[in-house]
């Protein structure tokens, strides 16, 4: 019988107690034990960002993060972004800006963007680009992703509100 460890953690706000092997990564626990397959594993070497999740608010590569290190911590995944079926602003901005094509990087992009915006609600374009460095997308060319994150930022909200006030923004219903 191999060594097992009990971990107590919160996943998307739900308390979980799990008996796991020390070698299990957070990505394996999320996907295989909890069925949260929104977290994708691509490079498995923490260079692509597809597996990005938040641990106590910090972006981590779930593929190379031991689940035991999440003991006592709050983990957030893409499944936790929407509230009662309503997309989070950053998710809605990805839809509005067509910031994904194949979608495989999207979960990680959304979580990296969430960490970025929680840390810095009014990022400049350069700060968004730098914040998403290490999240790789092979489809979009990144421009719509950066646009979406800027649109979801507080600055984006303000700019959007200003445009609406000036009557130059199409209403959502017109799309």
């Amino acid at each position: 019988m191999h060594e097992l460890v009990t971990i107590e953690l919160s996943v998307n706000g739900v308390a979980r107690s799990l008996l796991i092997e020390p070698r299990e990564t957070l990505a394996e626990v999320l996907r295989d034990r909890l069925g949260l397959t929104g977290t994708k594993v691509s490079c498995d070497a923490q260079v692509c960002g597809a597996c990005t999740v938040l641990v106590d608010g910090l972006a981590m590569s779930a593929c190379t993060y031991l689940a035991v290190d999440a003991d006592g911590r709050a983990v957030r995944t893409v499944e936790g972004l929407a509230t009662d079926g309503v997309l989070a602003p950053v998710q809605q901005a990805f839809v509005d800006k067509a910031a994904f094509q194949c979608g495989f990087c999207t979960s990680g992009m959304l979580m990296a963007a969430t960490a970025l915006l929680e840390d810095n609600p009014t990022p400049t374009r350069e700060e968004v680009v730098r914040g998403l460095e290490g999240n790789i997308c092979r489809c979009t060319g990144y421009v719509p992703i950066v646009e979406a994150v800027l649109a979801a930022s507080r600055a984006g909200d303000a700019a959007g509100a200003a445009r609406i006030e000036q009557g130059s923004e199409n209403s959502g219903g017109a799309r």
Partner: protein, 291 residues
């Protein structure tokens, strides 16, 4: 999957060292895991027991010692260094380096001690800390020893650390009066293609002391004495600087260089020469802002 291992999570340094001894040597110290877990996952290392040192207080914290040296706990993350007000004030080039190291996820998990102990030839901190004259403090059941970076990093992925030694901290000397320290790199991937660190002192408008370190170009970060000597005596603000920097760049022409994914040996030497010019300018700016 990562091959099976036993995990020990000690709360004190003595517990950590005892845990290592108890395994008879089939163990390794674990901090951020950004390198070690990768190596294990790829099958390059089979390790019976991992000793997680993230809870050991001796390895935590960033502080200025009474003698002015900056002390960084080995288990301090890159993010903690980047965001430390003390580091931003005392050693801004290190805070800037950390801000641009790898990606946000690696910075959130990876530690300064793990980075140095892994001794990847493209390490950002190793090159900068080498130029700064920094040291690492190691502890084992038989005692402690402090090594300068150039004695610690002895080859690619190879350090002077014995298996039973754990890194406690990194120490960086304070800037002398009129001293500036800078680091610049060019990176296409997660790690630099080439990087240069410069530490120099400007007195009465002239460069009176200089150290140049080049990283990512050869198998280990290396001090380039010829480049440093070429800068000595140069007028930090005048026409003489251009000639001195050109001579210093020339001294990089025959440094040890290895082709890699970033390009040929000659290309990387060329990058180093360009970066040297920028790093010298930045170090002079800091030295004169300080004066």
């Amino acid at each position: 999957m990562i091959p099976r291992f036993s995990l020990v999570r000690p709360h004190t340094l003595d517990e950590a060292l005892a845990a290592f001894e108890a395994t008879g040597g089939d163990a390794a110290y674990l901090a951020g895991g950004t390198e070690l877990l990768q190596v294990m996952k790829l099958g390059f290392a089979q390790i019976g027991t991992l000793i997680d040192v993230k809870r050991v207080p001796d390895l935590k914290g960033i502080e200025r010692r009474p003698d002015g040296w900056l002390r960084l706990g080995a288990a301090v993350t890159h993010r903690e260094i980047e965001r430390s007000e003390l580091v931003r004030h005392e050693l801004p080039a290190l805070a800037g380096l950390e801000l641009h190291l790898a990606n946000a996820r690696v910075r959130n998990a990876g530690t300064i001690g793990g980075n140095l102990a892994f001794a990847e030839p493209h390490s950002d901190p190793a090159t900068f800390l080498l130029a700064c004259g920094a040291t690492v403090l190691l502890a084992s059941p038989s005692g402690r020893r402090e090594l300068p970076i150039d004695e610690f990093v002895v080859g690619p992925l190879f350090t002077a650390r014995e298996a039973d030694e754990v890194m406690i901290s990194v120490q960086v000397p304070p800037a002398a009066a009129g001293e500036g320290r800078s680091y610049d790199k060019l990176a296409f991937f997660e790690r630099p293609a080439a990087s240069v660190a410069v530490r120099l002192t400007v007195r009465d408008g002239a460069i009176t002391a200089a150290t140049v370190a080049v990283g990512s170009v050869g198998p280990v970060p290396a001090l380039v004495a010829g480049a440093a000597e070429a800068l000595l005596g140069a007028d930090a603000g005048g026409d003489g600087l251009e000639a001195a920097v050109t001579a210093a760049s020339g001294a990089l022409a025959d440094i040890e260089a290895e082709a890699d994914l970033n390009g040929s040996a000659d290309y990387k030497r060329h990058l180093a020469a360009v970066l040297l010019r920028r790093a010298v300018a930045a170090a002079i700016r800091e030295a004169q802002a300080d004066a």
